[in-house]
Amino acid sequence: MSGHHKNGTSDVERLVDASRAGDRCAFDDLVRLYQRRATHLAVRLLGNVDDATEVVQQAFVTAYLKIGKLREAKRFESWLLKIVTNLAIDHRETARHRSGTIEAADCEGKRYGSPVENQIKTELEDAIQRAILKLSAKEAKAISLFGFEDLSHKEVGKIMGCSVGTARWYVFRARRKLSVLLKDYL
């Protein structure tokens, strides 16, 4: 996330502190800084951009309402990404229970794509989305975090609250399942 690196940690902390004091403009700056990164993670967890953007919107609202509870301003990014992860997992579990497939999620259409792009939902996108929804929550979380900006197994384990070995196991199982589910596209 280039904006984050360019602005540096101290700027982020200043924005977080200002947001906690009720400065709405400061929080808008945080939105602009982190919306791409948050959406990237959500897309990896959900497989499609429409559900991802919905979850990201919810995540920023949650962060806005609860920012007073964030003790260390410098941890804003990891705190926000954790909110995104939890909401995305809830969202995919709801989708799984609703239909067992992703058709229901597709009904809303691709709001964030151009009209032409919206019409061209490729078979591959569809297959990936279906495959991700067939992973368990922990497998989806592990493979998404692992693929997200090349986090290590150790970092994935830390975020998931499990050992490195367990994180590695979830990543392995997720890859194995996806290899079977997506074998026609490999």
């Binding site: 709405r24 991802a52 609202v61 990936i128 693929g147 996806l178 490999l186």
Partner: protein
């Protein structure tokens, strides 16, 4: 297997990249902003009360519940009788703890919970026994709700002063 894993990773990367390319970021920013406006109107920002206050309040609530349960157990296990409307309650403040007594009109102690240490002071309270099912009969030992209230807010410095004040309020 390693090659298969790499292909899966590349496939997921490619999908994420293509999906993100479709996002209209300005529109997403506007949508988030609109939701924040709505949230600010409909949901109050949470207060930033110190954590210690919240912990103290929860501890006081738990203590109050345990306290009342113990008081009733003692009462129920004894052969003493509480007559409706007549008893008075006395809360005795001690360093680090609160003791509790229910007395009848003659001043006789009907129930008491205390930790055995020396009394430092007392707060007189009013007590009302509420019978859920009408008047108590000859056997007045069945459970009933009680309301205990101090005539004014009392704050005793016992080293844990907030907890004691909270406990008084909860009682």
């Amino acid at each position: 297997m390693k090659g298969g894993q790499d292909r899966i990773d590349r496939l997921l990367d490619k999908n994420a990249t293509e999906q993100l390319a479709k996002v209209d970021w300005d529109r997403l920013t506007d949508d988030i902003s609109a939701r924040l406006d709505h949230a600010r109107r409909t949901e109050p920002m949470p207060s930033r009360r110190p954590v210690v206050v919240k912990i103290a309040a929860r501890a006081a609530a738990a203590a109050a519940v345990i306290f009342v349960i113990i008081a009733f157990r003692i009462r129920e296990s004894s052969d003493m009788r509480v007559h409706r409307g007549s008893p008075a309650a006395e809360v005795v403040d001690k360093k680090g703890a609160v003791s509790f007594q229910i007395k009848d009109a003659s001043g006789r102690v009907l129930a008491m919970v205390q930790d055995g240490r020396t009394d430092k002071g007392a707060v007189k309270c009013d007590v009302e026994i509420i019978d859920r099912n009408g008047d108590l009969g000859a056997d007045s030992s069945r459970a009933a709700w009680i309301i205990i209230s101090a005539p004014k807010r009392t704050f005793v410095d016992n080293g844990y002063n907030r907890e004691e004040a909270d406990l008084m309020c909860l009682l």
